[in-house]
Amino acid sequence: MKPGLTLVGGITLFELVGAVLVFIAAVAGGKVIALSLRRSLREKVAAHYLDMVAKVAYYLVVVGGLLWALSILGVGLSGLLVAGGVAGLVVGFASQQIVGNVISGLFLMVERPVKIGDQVNIEGTAGFVDDIRIISTTIRTYDGLMVRMPNEKVFTSNITNYVALACRRIDYTVGIRYRDDAEVAIGAIKEVLNEHPYVLVEPTPQVFVESFGESAVNLTVRFWSPVSTWYATRSELLWRIKQALEAKGIEIPFPQRTVWFGSDQEESSRSQKQVSRLRKGRGERA
C-alpha cells in the first residue's frame, strides 16, 4: 500500500502533484531554453533556422517532461507504446484531418518549400510566411491581414515562392512615337539601367523593338534584379525611364485613332488621294 491519499488507479496525490509539477517545469524549461537559444543565436543564425531550432528544443523538453511525468504516475514506456498504438488508431480515425495537418507540417519542415519570412502565393493568398506551426501555417498578406492555413492545404497546394531564387526578371513595355528614333530611345533606357545598382550586370539587360503598335513603336525592356530589391527597383525604374526618354525629346504617345465619318466622304476621299500621292512619292505600293 502506497503512503498518502490514494486516487484513481492507485496513484497517490503526492505522485499526481509531482507529475503535474514536472510537466509544468518542463513547459517552463522548454520556453526558457527556446528563448535563450533565440537570444544567443539571433545574430549568428538565419531567422527561419533559428525559429525551427527553438521549436524543436522546446518540444523535445516538453515531450521529455511529459514522459517523466507519466513515469511518476507509473505509466511505463512500453505500456505507453501499446496504449499509444490503440489510442493512435482511435484518434487517427476520429481526427484524420488534424493528423494529416501534423504530418504535412512535419513534411513542410523537412522539405522546406517555404521558410518563415518568404514571400509566397498559396492558393491565391499572397504575402509573407509569418509562422509554420505543427498544424497550421500563418501568412501575413501584403495588405496586413493574417491568414491561417492548415498545413495539409499548404503542402498539397501549388506554392509560388517569390524569393526562393537569387533574382527575378522585370519586364516593361515602353511605347514611343513613330517619328522618334528607336536607337536613341534604346540607348537612353540602357543608360538608366546601367546606372542603377540593382539592375544586374548578368544576366545582361535587354532593350529591343518588340512590335509596331496602333499608336506607338513598342520597346521591350527586360532586366534582372535581386529578389530582395525587386519590387523597389521595378517601381523606381519605370518613372526614371520616362524621364530619360523625355530628356532626349522622345515622348510616350497617347493611344490615337483617325475616325472618318460618313458625311465627310468628300473630305475622306481627298485625304486618301493625298496619302496615295505621298506613298507614290516614296515609291511605296498603294
Partner: protein, 254 residues
C-alpha cells in the same frame, strides 16, 4: 583647428593629403578630398557628422571618451547589405598554363567604415562609398548567387589607385590542372576579407586555386602587401557575426 588630430594637421602642413584612415581619440575632425568626418563635443554628448558626395550623416554619440576608428571595410554593405560575395570581372582575361602560377594585381571598390570604440566595445557608426555600386549574378538563375560587381584591369605591378575609392588586390592564381585555363573573374567571400591600409594604399592578398577547367577555390590571406600596413577592423567581427565561411568555391565557371 580645435580638436583636429595630430595626423590630419601634420598631413596638411607637409602639403600631402592627410589620410582619413586611422584611430583617433575624440574629439576629432578629418578632411580628405571631398570627405569630411568630424566627431565634436556638443554639451554632454558628441556630435558625429560625415559629409561626402554620397550624402551627409549625423548622429549623436553618448560617450565620455572613446575613440573613432576609420578604415576601409568589406565592400558589400552598400547601398544595402544584400550580398556577402564580391565578383571581380577582369577587363582582359588571363590564360594560365598547366600547373602555372602567377600573381595578378586587381582593383576592388572601397567602402569606408567609421567605428566608435570604448575599451573593447566597438560599434559601427557609419559606412560610405565614393563609387557607384553594381551587382551581378554568378551562376545560373536557379542556384546562382548575387554578388557585388567590380570590373577590374589586370596588371602585373601594383596599380596606382585613390585609397578612398579603390584598393589593390594581389591575387596568386595557381593552375593545378594539366590543361590551359582562361580566367575571366574571381569571386570571394566577403566574410574572409583581410584588408590592410597605409597612408596612400588599401590592399589585400588572396589566392585562387584552379582545380578544374571551370572550377576554383578562392580565399584571402591574412598578410599585408607591404611592411607597416595596418589591419582594418572587419565589419563582420565588429558585429560579432558568424564567419564560418571564408573560402569560396567558384563552381559556375572562371
Amino acid at each position: 583647428m580645435k580638436g583636429r588630430t595630430k595626423e590630419a594637421v601634420s598631413g596638411s602642413r607637409k602639403g600631402k593629403k592627410p589620410s582619413l584612415y586611422g584611430r583617433f581619440p575624440l574629439p576629432v575632425e578629418l578632411q580628405s578630398d571631398s570627405v569630411r568626418v568630424a566627431a565634436m563635443p556638443e554639451g554632454e554628448v558628441v556630435h558625429y557628422r560625415r559629409e561626402a558626395p554620397c550624402g551627409v550623416v549625423e548622429k549623436t554619440v553618448v560617450t565620455s571618451g572613446g575613440r573613432l576608428i576609420v578604415n576601409p571595410v568589406e565592400p558589400v554593405n552598400l547601398p544595402q547589405s544584400i550580398s556577402t560575395t564580391l565578383l571581380l570581372h577582369f577587363v582582359r582575361p588571363v590564360v594560365v598554363e598547366p600547373k602555372g602560377r602567377v600573381v595578378l594585381f586587381l582593383t576592388f571598390p572601397i567602402e569606408v567604415g567609421v567605428f566608435i570604440a570604448r575599451q573593447q566595445a566597438v560599434e559601427m557608426l557609419d559606412v560610405f562609398c565614393l563609387l557607384p555600386s553594381k551587382f551581378t549574378l554568378y551562376g545560373p538563375q536557379g542556384g546562382g548567387r548575387v554578388c557585388k560587381y567590380w570590373r577590374s584591369k589586370v596588371s602585373f605591378v601594383p596599380p596606382t589607385v585613390k585609397p578612398l575609392e579603390e584598393g589593390v588586390l594581389a591575387l596568386t592564381v595557381t593552375n593545378a590542372t594539366p590543361r590551359w585555363v582562361e580566367v575571366n573573374r574571381a569571386v570571394f567571400h566577403a566574410h574572409g576579407m583581410k584588408l590592410f591600409f597605409g597612408s596612400a594604399l588599401v590592399a589585400m592578398q588572396a589566392e585562387m586555386r584552379i582545380t578544374a577547367a571551370d572550377m576554383a577555390e578562392t580565399q584571402f590571406v591574412d598578410r599585408p602587401l607591404h611592411e607597416g600596413m595596418k589591419k582594418s577592423l572587419e565589419v563582420y567581427r565588429a558585429r560579432k557575426l558568424s564567419t564560418a565561411m571564408t573560402r569560396f568555391m567558384m563552381e559556375y565557371g572562371l
